[in-house]
């Protein structure tokens, strides 16, 4: 993913110049003084002594992408029509406009897909591991070659800023395939004193927040270990998974090794309950995760669950404050807060709280919310109308609970699903907005005095996916990372991901790890 911080403003700032022909995009406010220049006519807004710093529109070119009007299911190496003959619209959440028709897979399609996977397992599991690796390497390379196209489609379909899909989602997805490809012929070294074998047919259900990346997290280790797969993308973001199906087809991967079945919850449930499926890997809400755990009870199916979170991001008074503020912003506003490991509970040591909160508010004023396809955009569109309603409902709940809300006065686009970055001050442990996962750009802030107090508060939650710690003191970091009940702890950084780095939760954030050598275990048995 390179040396990329998720939310940065990297472009040259230009000053507001009166030119009605060019679209101007303005951050919510600015304290940048205007600089006179004889070459340009300066807007009369300088009357108020301050004016808006702005950015030229910098839309990503979308002309080079190849999208069909209609997408079918990818089963047994071919694109086939759904048994139901039904299709649904997938939209661009930034414009609310339809992009393509997507096949609505149902239980019958899942049955066909699972049977294809079962059949393909016979030969794929016996394929020489070195040869297996080559197919996976090839997929990685083909994603890299078409990275920009994938980035554009990811942003169109999911609403995330193009800068994130371009610099994070797509490169990481390719890297995951590349990393796990190399494991295929080295598995005996991963498990001391054991001979790992593939588990069989794997059912994988992935969420809408990182559509291609989650597909890569699921597919790469499953294929490297010799399993065959039926993958169900999230209903709102199927496009990059279907483009991946095209790559898989072109890569020459044997028919039936991977099937991609689009559809809704009923298709997911059919996959979970199918008797020929040997393992379920799920990323999504804790609610659905619990349903899956219950559904497979007594069936001998292996399960891994990567579920919700409500991460504590803890700022001590000896932290590098400016970097910590960047970390707070990246922690909660990365991908519009649609991140299971988002740093959604901020804990600031009391003696620096005023300073940190002021700097945070100032920083929020510079965030650009709007067209996800614009390369300057920091916060794109909320993934769906349903999710926007959910977030807005939580904002109402927070206000009703008596917390103090802060939003910048930025303008939101008139079309599409957008949400202002939001802070809640004076929150307490018992508030619903503190306890429940909102999955949006909403941050709750609490203060603390002692390290014991903040550990207690941070851990006092059913989730345990991730946490952040900001302090310049090494011993404090190790004390904290040892005591925080979370699968990933970012110290003096936040929201970093890598194929070699295991990711997954404690407690109600699920079990099993994805990434690294630990990510192989869910896909083998001894």
């Amino acid at each position: 993913m390179g040396r990329i911080t998720a939310i940065t403003i990297s472009v040259k700032i230009k000053f507001y110049i009166q030119n009605p022909k060019r679209q101007k995009r303005t951050p919510s406010s600015s304290n940048i003084q205007i600089i006179e220049s004889s070459n340009y006519q300066i807007t009369k807004m300088s009357k108020i002594k301050k004016t808006f710093a702005s950015y030229d529109a910098a839309p990503e070119n979308t002309s080079h992408i190849d999208l069909k009007a209609q997408y079918d299911l990818f089963i047994n190496g071919k694109f086939v029509k759904p048994q139901s003959k039904q299709y649904y619209d997938t939209i661009n959440p930034a414009t609310e406009k339809k992009i393509a028709s997507i096949a609505k897979g149902n239980a019958k399609d899942i049955d066909l897909a699972v049977k294809s996977a079962k059949k393909a397992f016979e030969s794929w599991s016996k394929t020489e591991p070195k040869e297996r690796a080559k197919y996976i390497y090839r997929i990685a390379r083909m994603i890299q070659e078409r990275a920009r196209e994938f980035a554009v489609i990811e942003t169109m379909n999911g609403g995330k800023p193009i800068r994130e899909s371009r610099d994070i989602d797509i490169p990481l997805a390719a890297n995951h395939f590349f990393y796990y490809a190399g494991w295929a012929d080295k598995l005996d070294y991963a498990f001391p004193n054991r001979k790992p074998k593939p588990v069989g047919v794997v059912g994988q259900i992935i969420p809408w927040n990182f559509p291609l990346l989650m597909a890569a997290w699921k597919l790469a280790p499953a294929l490297a270990t010799g399993n065959t797969v039926v993958l169900k993308p999230a209903e709102s973001t199927p496009l990059t998974a279907l483009k991946l199906a095209e790559i898989i087809q072109e890569s020459g991967l044997p028919d039936g090794v991977v099937q991609i079945v689009t559809g809704f919850g009923d298709a997911g449930a059919a996959l979970v309950n199918h008797p020929l499926v040997n393992k379920i890997a799920f990323t999504g809400s804790t609610e659905v995760g619990k349903y899956i755990q219950k559904a497979v009870a007594g069936s001998n199916k292996k399960v891994t669950l990567e579920l919700g979170g409500k991460a504590a991001n803890i700022i001590f008074d000896d932290a590098p404050i400016d970097q910590a503020v960047e970390g707070i912003v990246n922690g909660i506003f990365f991908n519009q807060g649609h991140v299971c490991c988002a740093g959604s509970r901020l804990f600031v040591q009391e003696n620096i709280a005023d300073k940190v909160i002021q700097k945070l508010k100032d920083r929020m004023k510079t965030l650009i919310i709007g067209d996800p396809m614009d390369k300057n955009t920091d916060i794109g569109a909320i993934n769906s109308k349903e999710q926007l309603l959910k977030i807005n409902n939580y904002i109402k709940i927070g206000i009703a609970e008596g917390a103090e809300m802060y939003q910048t006065n930025c303008a939101l686009p008139s079309q599409g699903y957008f949400c202002k970055p939001t802070l809640f001050l004076h929150t307490s442990q018992s508030h619903r907005i503190v306890q429940e996962e909102i999955f949006g750009p909403v941050l709750t802030i609490q203060t603390f005095r002692t390290i014991e107090e903040v550990i207690e508060k941070a851990n006092n939650i059913p989730y345990g996916l991730s946490a952040g710690v900001w302090t310049d003191k090494g011993s404090k970091i190790f004390n904290l990372t040892t005591k925080l009940r979370a699968g990933v702890v970012w110290a003096n950084t936040y929201n970093k991901f890598d194929p070699t780095s295991p990711f997954g939760g404690y407690q109600e954030s699920g079990f099993g790890r994805e990434g690294g050598v630990h990510g192989l275990l869910p896909y083998v048995h001894f």
Partner: protein, 290 residues
């Protein structure tokens, strides 16, 4: 006149009777009553979980080396009381040779797992070569409170074989002993109580799985459950109820006499992998990435 032993429960380092006042008769092959065993209640289980939760911080916070010494101490004490365990096994219907073998294996297993206390982290942890400028490492950490429904067919070996891999890694546990062969469990509790194992790390109940298994599986402050029997209905019910708090649920229905069923993968079943990231740069310098 022989003094008969009263078999009680083991909760939080103490030996209380069941709060319910209930008991069941344990008989030998000749249908003679050997002992009145406590028939543990849901409330006993809940008390035991409170004790186990309280013990997690201290036990998981011990140096791994120290845990290894305490497990080795368990082997030493068990060795010294070998004859008592053999006698109890005989009383519960074992032959002399199988009783001696079972006790020998139980002692050896304590020594085996004692050695793992400060080693599994190195085998199953990792330093991860991430592409960004960060130092990144993963270590196993205890899941927390684990409850166990122990093997029904052995009195000592199954119980010991399930407890050890759990406590090696800093977890604490609540164990339901074999209902038909419960004697060694409470005597083993006496071994634990004199081995410098902190109160609450291991808690042992006697009673009936049919009555208790749903309470074990549905308790919201239990992190994992291990079932060592073969009742399919109970396995299913436990797995279903575990979903209430995403409890880790395992079936260890194993032949504990076999050497292959002592291994570090059992330790890892009740470990979580924690990954920590930190930038490799001077904080605050130009170009540093956070």
């Amino acid at each position: 006149m022989e003094i008969l032993k009263t078999y009680k429960l083991f909760i939080g380092g103490a030996f209380p009777r069941t709060e319910s006042g209930r008991y069941y008769k344990l008989e030998n092959k000749q249908k003679q009553v050997i002992a009145n065993m406590c028939l543990s209640s849901r409330k006993d289980f809940r008390n035991a979980v409170v004790a186990a939760r309280k013990a997690v911080e201290g036990w998981s916070g011990r140096a791994a080396f120290n845990r290894g010494q305490i497990l080795y101490r368990i082997a030493e004490i068990l060795e010294g009381r070998k004859a008592q365990f053999v006698a109890e096994l005989l009383l519960q219907g074992s032959t002399k040779s199988s009783a001696e073998k079972e006790v020998r294996l139980a002692i050896d297993r304590c020594v085996y797992y004692s050695g793992w206390c400060d080693k599994y982290q190195q085998l199953f942890g990792s330093v991860n070569p991430v592409a960004t400028s960060h130092f990144n490492f993963s270590v196993p950490e205890p899941t927390g409170v684990v409850c166990v429904i122990a093997d029904e067919n052995t009195s000592l070996l199954g119980l010991v074989s399930a407890i050890l891999p759990i406590i090696v890694g800093g977890n604490t546990c609540v164990v339901l002993a074999s209902e038909s062969k419960p004697l060694c469990s409470i005597t083993f509790a006496e071994v634990l109580a004199t081995s410098d194992l902190a109160a609450g790390v291991v808690n042992i109940l006697t009673g009936n799985s049919k009555e208790l298994h749903t309470h074990f599986a549905s308790h919201m402050d239990v992190n994992a459950i291990i079932y060592c029997r073969e009742n399919a209905a109970e396995i299913k019910a436990i797995a279903e109820l575990s979903s209430m708090n995403v409890k880790r649920s395992f079936v260890w229905n194993k032949d504990w006499l076999k050497a292959e069923n002592e291994n570090p993968y059992l330790i890892m079943d009740v470990q979580e992998i924690k990954t920590t990231w930190h930038p490799i740069e001077n904080i605050g310098v130009s170009g540093a990435k956070y």
